[in-house]
Subunit: 338 residues, 2 copies
Amino acid sequence: MRRTTIKDVAKAAGVSITTVSHALSGGSDVKQETRERIEKLAAQMNYMPSFSGRNLKNARTGVIGLYSRYIRGFYGVLADAMCDACQQAGFELDVILAESGDMVMSSILSKRVDGAIILHSGFGDRHTEVLRETELPAVFLDREFSAGRISSVLFDSYKTGCQAADYLCGLGHREFMFIKGQDTYDGVERRRGFYQRLRERGIDLPSERELEGAFDRTTAQRSMERFIASGAPMPTGIFAANDDSAIGCILALTAAGYRVPEDVSILGCDNIELGQWYTPSLTTMKTGISTMGRLAAQETIALINGEHPGRITKTESTIVERGSCAGAPLSEAAAPVG
Amino acid sequence: MRRTTIKDVAKAAGVSITTVSHALSGGSDVKQETRERIEKLAAQMNYMPSFSGRNLKNARTGVIGLYSRYIRGFYGVLADAMCDACQQAGFELDVILAESGDMVMSSILSKRVDGAIILHSGFGDRHTEVLRETELPAVFLDREFSAGRISSVLFDSYKTGCQAADYLCGLGHREFMFIKGQDTYDGVERRRGFYQRLRERGIDLPSERELEGAFDRTTAQRSMERFIASGAPMPTGIFAANDDSAIGCILALTAAGYRVPEDVSILGCDNIELGQWYTPSLTTMKTGISTMGRLAAQETIALINGEHPGRITKTESTIVERGSCAGAPLSEAAAPVG
DNA sequence: CTGAAAGCGCTTACAG
DNA sequence: CTGAAAGCGCTTACAG
């Protein structure tokens, strides 16, 4: 690969590299004529300062890194929102796909980014401790942690769980079921809020009515099929830890002859696009992924600028009422048709 | 931010920076005992060679850059597949979100990546010319171009268009419609193949039966509504430039009383996830996004390794038969029910 | 307004 | 087996 350096430009312009640097950075005084000549030459020669050369002196890269294992789906929406916020502030967003927490840490320790946004299940307490020692501005999206220059930006998933309970209770339901997600921050908190609010309302959710799930369609579907096969009475209000699980549930229920929402109401969480096209369309909790992405990027930038120390920010959810929830049926428990 | 450098490690270990470098890079001979002491110290001190320091000497970054404007949806699936292929070859994939072609070019000229995968509508001929001069290994995903160290990896969208025509003709259709996409490589080529194959079969597609679309649901839906309102006879076989447009069409048609696929068959393109859940489920051309991502990453790596000069690779589509296409109805033109 | 020089953190011949 | 020295491409006091 051919690389044009500042030396080449200096030689072509007949000046020192110092003058080229000055002319191009625009900072210090350079004679108008000289500056123009250099700028023209630089453009002509496709000169662009080397990232590494510049960074070695500056200790500032101008890039914010988003560290994750995947980038499809949820992550992509998040990243697009972050990108907008970064560009507005003059930063570039790099999505750095890392297999392990160690790889995330290595990349951070190699001083490639001015700030890091971390959403990686492989990033453990050990890494967090190192991160804190480096004093690099960083934002977590999947755990509640703050210190020095480290913040967290999260969904208020506990509250979301509470809202879910309130909504279903408001429709008159008294018999509930919860479809678990994975043991991530959001999975745990949504569950905790849902149970807590039911308890406050004097409603007990027995453990056999908590079904296994993994944030995907299939696991929830299988769990529900097993529950149906067990012959246990079907509750009328179901909260699934996310939309995919809710859809898996609906699939199993309708296959067994239950009507949604007439017999059973199902409330999802996330507001994925598919939800509005599904039949029945999915009633769900809208968590606001783009908002979170924007907030996370802005928080990272604020941390880089030293505007305030690390802190925890939470964003709230709103309900999206569609076709999968209705008032509780008159009889205590739901039964399949025919 | 605190930064541990090779000097700190050298001082702590009581050796020169040369020895630290040797010990950590693993290459040259260092006494076993010394190496172990240095490795232990480096780990303890959270030392990791600076990306910039190392890169300045090496002229090799170990990173492959994916340059695009967005990362959600389609792009995310692509990036995840690329990431797998990159990691297998010891490269890191960075997704660099750039607003403009100039930004892509600047990033490339700043020598931050060993190879670039480019999927950016803002990257024009002017940029391509500069790219060629830099001799940086690069792969385009959205144009047919090859030279020196530049390859293209593409969907064979012309052939996809041909297959679409063959499939609908095979079902007995003779009256067609095409829903346009945008003027991207794939949009243009899908159209070209579809028309060409119809022509070969002696079928003419009059211009009033080419409807405007923009690869999204809404534009296609509006176009179809206008067509219906015009009172022109409805063809029985429709090929939409992508799945979103196909869904827009179905929305407009069913709202007007047409039955899909009994009255009108609709064939999409892309095989998006939604297609299988939609009612009717969408018959579509599966283009293989993950395959393309993997191929693109492998091609970039081959170019970096100098295995062969730039070239053009195309991947083919396969039909996914579902519920939106059926045999042509007996009457010449479709009519809405009731 | 311009330039010589130091130095950022590393690697790599080269000498010992 | 170990280290002094040069140099990668830049920026930034500093001198003139």
